[in-house]
């Protein structure tokens, strides 16, 4: 394989992986703190794509033509609304099930996912929607036929996701809120005894996860330009796989899992076959879990006897 092809595939994998990583954070945080798979998270990401497009369209219709302002305003609005979705979903579908058998919230999450998908379909119609290409700039390295071409948005995806990842890590490691989160994650009852409002912390985690998905939604919408009400499903499953691969419950693990999944998908479809890239991704997951049962960065489970 030529260097420029390999480099291009690495770029492809990195951008895809960063997006998986951002969405995986929502899965991993929620799983870490309440131990449930939030199947509706993929659809929260889908909602954020819609909100992005709606927001941009509204801003442009008001004649705002400063692109940086429009983008920042869109990002802020999308994060706000998507976070509200995260909060509400937790409130409606999961909180009443606290203390219920383990599988009950899983089923209500699947139900919630159906509600979100079809709710959006009913109100926005089923067709593929899109936003115009706003940042057409590309960077080109190399000459003649041997070149690597990267769009500015792709660079943005990698940079923004790494930055938000770092910010989130700081939030969890260094702030009081983060300490409360970690305490709740380790032992919810003990945290409650120590005066932590665990319900509020769980809500916060849903909000943070949704906000991360919103960042992903904005970036993806800018990058690919199109989306429909069904994108949450495929991406959601992939992101969840990434979260497990990296070690569910671990923030850097989510990012690492996302990057590995993205890179392996890109390289596998580049070198072997596109048809079976998902088969490869899932086989990779199975293999990793056989040899490292708690994922790459997950804490090894010490059997408490």
């Amino acid at each position: 394989m030529d260097w420029h092809i390999l480099a291009q595939q690495l770029v492809n994998g990195l951008t895809l992986g960063s997006i998986y990583g951002l969405i995986a954070i929502g899965y991993t945080m929620v799983y870490g703190i309440v131990g449930m798979i939030n199947f509706a998270h993929g659809d929260v990401y889908m909602i954020s794509a819609y909100v992005t497009a709606i927001c941009l369209a509204v801003l442009f219709s008001f004649g705002i033509d400063s692109l940086p302002f429009a983008l920042l305003a869109t990002l802020a609005t999308t994060m706000l609304i998507t976070a509200a979705y995260g909060w509400t979903i937790e409130r409606i579908a999961y909180r009443p099930l606290r203390g219920a058998p383990r599988l009950a919230p899983l089923i209500s999450a699947i139900g919630m996912s159906l509600v979100l998908q079809n709710g959006v379909q009913l109100s926005q119609g089923a067709k593929t929607q899109g936003v115009p290409s706003l940042i057409p700039a590309t960077l080109r390295f190399g000459e003649g036929n041997d070149f690597v071409q990267i769009t500015l948005v792709q660079c943005m995806i990698v940079v923004v996701s790494l930055t938000s990842m770092a910010a989130l890590t700081w939030l969890i490691q260094r702030t009081s809120l983060g300490r409360q989160c970690r305490a709740t994650q380790q032992d919810r009852r003990m945290a409650a005894i120590l005066g932590i409002d665990t319900d509020r912390i769980i809500s916060t985690v849903f909000v943070i996860g949704a906000a991360m998905a919103a960042i992903a939604g904005v970036l993806v919408t800018l990058n690919y330009g199109s989306f429909d009400f069904y994108i949450g499903f495929v991406t959601g499953i992939k992101a969840f796989t990434a979260a497990v691969l990296g070690g569910i419950g671990s923030l850097p693990g989510a990012m690492l899992g996302g990057l590995i999944l993205g890179l392996s998908e890109a390289l596998f479809s580049g070198m072997v076959n596109t048809d079976y890239k998902d088969v490869f991704a899932f086989s990779l997951l199975v293999l990793v879990l056989i040899f490292r049962p708690t994922g790459l960065l997950g804490k090894p489970e010490v059997e408490k006897v």
Binding site: I5, Q8, T128, A266, G270, N273
Partner: protein
């Protein structure tokens, strides 16, 4: 007691079933016609097109006096493009709603099992969108289609690629779906006849519903292809085109009628990405004279009759005309009538061969203009 015993639950289910059994007895002065397609799920856009088109047709026919004095009443059936639901819907349309004919099913994989059910019951079915050859190749008398076959448009593209574009290296991409892979394979078969199949340097599938095809695009680049043929729908064709251009590949792009839709401009993120792409399709439905009035009416009502909308419209017209002509709703007789008459439809006059395929499906080539519209190429 708070745990409902099994018998009680069963009773509740049976009661609920019974209620809906009795609830739907049709009025005698209407003719019920089913419209079946993916109304929910990932393909719901096409179901919406079916429904809008058929509804408009029913409205227009009813306004003109209906069929033999009876009004048309449409019944919606959702199959979500899943074979299982398709047969369930087919049975429901026949049994519960007592439909006299069906416009329907979009995905070939739904149309095939469902048409067995219709044929078994002797009910006429016209599919506006299933292009798989198998739909009409199974000797079912009452099954018709209002669209072309995969093995008709693929060859046209192949001829163009070899004779006009003189492509040296061809990459064939499909969406692993019955339709997309069907036309891609038909194209490849024609290349074989033209002794050009050694020019295919890549043959791969992408996953429907995904938006990231960058890895595939890079692979196309690595293969050195100068022409890409895509078998699939605009939902994937748009992002694929965009990513081809964004990675700086200046290749020819061809696709089938599933991609020839203004929505591809939205899906790609702007007309600059689709400019210069070629697509095969039957005569563009919205541009032919016969359809202008309907197109205007629907656009005024706020729905752009894109994709299969007008095909659904025409399907209902054909059903109505055959019922008027044969003065019956018996599927076998309607089928016989349709095979021996030409029906004026919104898509122009249509007639069918013995298998239920359209006789005149002359496909032609379209090319996208810089302003996000497309025009038919000169022959």
């Amino acid at each position: 007691m708070d745990h409902p015993s099994f018998p009680r639950c069963l009773l509740a289910v049976a009661l609920a079933g019974g209620l809906s059994l009795s609830g739907l007895a049709g009025a005698a002065d209407t003719i019920k016609i089913g419209v079946a397609g993916p109304m929910t799920g990932g393909y719901a856009a096409f179901g919406e097109q079916f429904w809008r088109g058929a509804s408009q047709a029913a409205e227009d026919i009813n306004a003109a006096g209906g069929i033999n004095g009876k009004q048309i009443e449409l019944v919606k059936g959702d199959d979500a493009c899943e074979p299982k639901q398709a047969t369930a819907v087919a049975n429901r349309l026949l049994d519960q709603d007592k439909v006299a004919a069906v416009v329907g099913h979009f995905c070939s994989s739904s149309t095939i099992p469902a048409s067995e059910v219709y044929a078994d019951a002797g009910v006429l079915v016209i599919t506006p969108g299933s292009t798989n050859p198998k739909v009409t190749e199974r000797g079912l008398v009452t099954v018709f289609r209002m669209c072309g076959r995969d093995d008709q448009q693929g060859p046209l593209a192949a001829d163009f690629i070899v004779k006009e574009l003189k492509a040296k290296k061809i990459a064939v991409v499909h969406d692993k779906d019955t339709y997309g892979q069907g036309i891609a394979d038909a194209m490849r078969d024609r290349l074989k006849e033209l002794k050009a199949d050694n020019r295919v340097v890549l043959y791969e599938g992408l996953t429907r519903g995904e938006k990231d095809f960058n890895a595939l695009v890079t692979k196309i680049k690595a293969s050195g292809a100068d022409t890409v043929y895509f078998g699939g729908l605009y939902n994937e064709a748009g992002p694929l085109l965009r990513q081809l251009r964004e990675q700086g590949l200046k290749v020819n792009f061809l696709s089938g009628d599933g991609s020839l839709d203004p929505a591809i401009v939205t899906a790609a993120g702007g007309p600059q990405f689709v400019e210069g792409a070629y697509m095969t399709s039957v005569r563009e439905a919205r541009n032919i004279p016969a359809s202008q009035a309907v197109v205007k009416k629907m656009k005024d009502a706020g729905f752009d009759p894109s994709g299969f909308t007008l095909y659904a419209y025409a399907s209902l017209q054909a059903i109505a005309d055959s019922m008027k002509g044969a003065k019956t709703s018996d599927g076998a007789k309607l089928a016989k009538w349709l095979k021996s008459h030409t029906v004026p439809t919104v898509l122009g006059p249509k007639s069918w061969d013995g298998k239920g395929d359209l006789k005149d499906t002359s496909f032609s080539l379209f090319v996208w203009e810089p302003d996000g519209t497309y025009k038919e190429m000169r022959k």
